[in-house]
Amino acid sequence: MKKVVVVLLVFLMAGAAVFAAGQRETVDEKVVTVFGAFVDEEARRFEEAIRPFTDATGIEVRYEGSSEFETLISVRVEGGNPPDIAALPQPGLMQNFAQQGHLVPMWNSLEQLVDSNYAPVWKDLGSEGGTPYGVFHRVNAKSFVWYPKKAWDAAGYEIPTTWDELEALMDQMVANGHTPWAIGIESGGATGWPGTDWVEDVMLRTAGPEVYQQWIDNEIPFNHPAVKEAFEIVGDIWFNDDYVYGGRNYILTTSFGDSPRPLFEDPPRAMMHRQGNFVTTFFPDRIQDNLEQEVGVFPLPSINPEWGIPVLGGGDQFVVFNDTPEVRQFMEFLATWESGKLWAQAGGALFPYLDQDLDAYPNEIERSLAEALVNAEVFGFDASDLMPGQVGAGSFWTGIVDWVNGRNLDTVLNTIQRSWP
């Protein structure tokens, strides 16, 4: 019995100590928690970019990134444990959370900032049911073609401004014994997405923004002639073994990050690579160090002159789950160029702010990309990110893979259409 009492006393004391320890931890710190999908180097650059905010206000911003973001954010929100702010890569996620009433709508002062500092398209992308929620920060633009500058200069190639010129250029390259394109769509669980970007880019150029939007909303079916035409134009390039380095097998099995490497062999094994602004971080180090001398870039040419040169892109939008004064301050900071400047200087990121100082970008290439982004007449948000997950992160990706692996295009398009929820 004595032993029992002793043991119990020990436990009671331990318990009391635990309570006491718990009590001491209730000091109020000014903290804003942010949860997002970017990790590693990008997360580090984000933290660096927002340091001026902490310096000025004393509010600590704790950023947490996860490559399983899309799954975790839903689990956390449904579990009643959302972060103060989340950076959502897909507008669809924002719409879900907004419909479920988890998000705090933009307050007046923030909305005014967004109205004055962004093109209207960004506010629309951040709105659900007419209520604005999301603030865009870092964005990307994908309609760009990269080429090895020195080899181009040596061969005397000129930048095409129309699709006909592009086709003529490809034939000229083949005649010279060059391979025009290096393409890779492998990306682990997301294999196929670079292919969806190609189709979307062509779709914006052939069908225009309105049909593009109808396609996203499934107001026209996935096997509609306009969609099929876009696939066929892409296929004319992809499935011509003279045009693509390594043919279908290379497209299927090469990871998107490795796929531009043939451009930088000596001599280059391929002459062009179509990818977003972020691809520069995948270039070999010696190329990255001399980006302006080694690499050239031009926007994917126009097909139908009516639509000019559209820009396809995407971006993370920051939305608010917990309304506190600190969170409000931070969101208003994110809507200003101040929050992007340091990241722009570090490279690898574009920003949509109207008042941005283009001189901040570290090289001519990123400056021209930012300019193309800000000045684009037609901006199309990545369609696969706007479609329901079943399609945009499912059958569209796998459809591209099956198509490249030899399945008939009509079957592929019908399968995708059937999977629409």
Binding site: F11, V18, F19, G189, G246, G247, N249, L252
Partner: protein
Amino acid sequence: MSEQDTSASSGGIGGRAVVTLGRILISIFIPFVAFVVLWGGFIFLRDTNAPQGIIASVAIIWGVGGVALLFWVADWVVNRLPLQTAKKLQPFVFVGPALVILGWYLFIPALRSLYLSFFDARSQAFVGLQNYVFAFTDPKMLESFVNNLMWIVLGTGGAVGFGLIIALLADRSRFEKFFKALVFLPMAISFVGAGVIWRFVYAYKPPMEEQIGLLNAMVTFFGGEPQAWFTMQPWNNIFLIVILVWLQTGYAMVIISAALKGIPSSIIEAGRIDGATEMKIIIRIIIPSIFSTLVTVATTIIIISLKIFDIVFTMTNGNYGTEVIASMQYKQMFRFLHYGRGSAIAMVLVIAVIPVMWYNLRQFSKREGF
């Protein structure tokens, strides 16, 4: 007299009542204290901002100590009851916690999955059997059923077949231990790890580049064209199954080998004296003697191949026609966030595994292991 008697006896009764009451109170008080301590630990762990190190050590002490405390208190309470009752309750003190934990972490979630499988993507509207209709009609699902069947037949057949052959051969070798260790080695590698290793075996580069994949390096060395193995339908499924066989042969071999040692040598010698060939001895004597072992090994590997996920997920992600049931479940649940379909596919998988599991357990119970 009678008054005195009653008072004396009532005093005795009263005293005993006080003692009994005291014992009951203590029996209630001690579990209560234990509960408060455990609850306090839980609240602390939930709400604290203390450094990670402190949280970790408190969690360990609270977790391990808590379990010990629970058991000790329960045992103590039961022992204070009358002997007969205590005897009846004692087993539950031992088995109870395991049952509670299994119920909480296995049984309730399974029931919940069953429930969710009748609802839509966000688990809001009842949709009847719609998700099951999807599970049995969607082309990708049908593809994954066929593939899983291929995994079961070839994966199990391969692992058990090679395991048996190697066990038989090693049994007759002077270097038995060495060979068996070699074959058993891959067992130590996780499925994902094996996936990473085999990615390098199957890696593909275009013909004009240097091949970094083992298989393609061999093919090009002998003058062949490099192949993109993952994209070759339907053979790519077999290339993936090879990995499972590579991983599981060691397991099959070790168990079969142990069973081989248990066959009385007198039977085999009798066979030899009667003039049976070695092949006949294997087919007529050895295999029948270890048949129940073979069944156990096979059913275990069948269950593994039914649930196969990691290999497909790391190698092809279900692309190029290699989808399996578990990868479909993951995609529906965590990528498309369709909880209804994900749960329905999970239920289909559970239902497919149950008969095999039941057969497996019956085999165990025959050998009095269960």
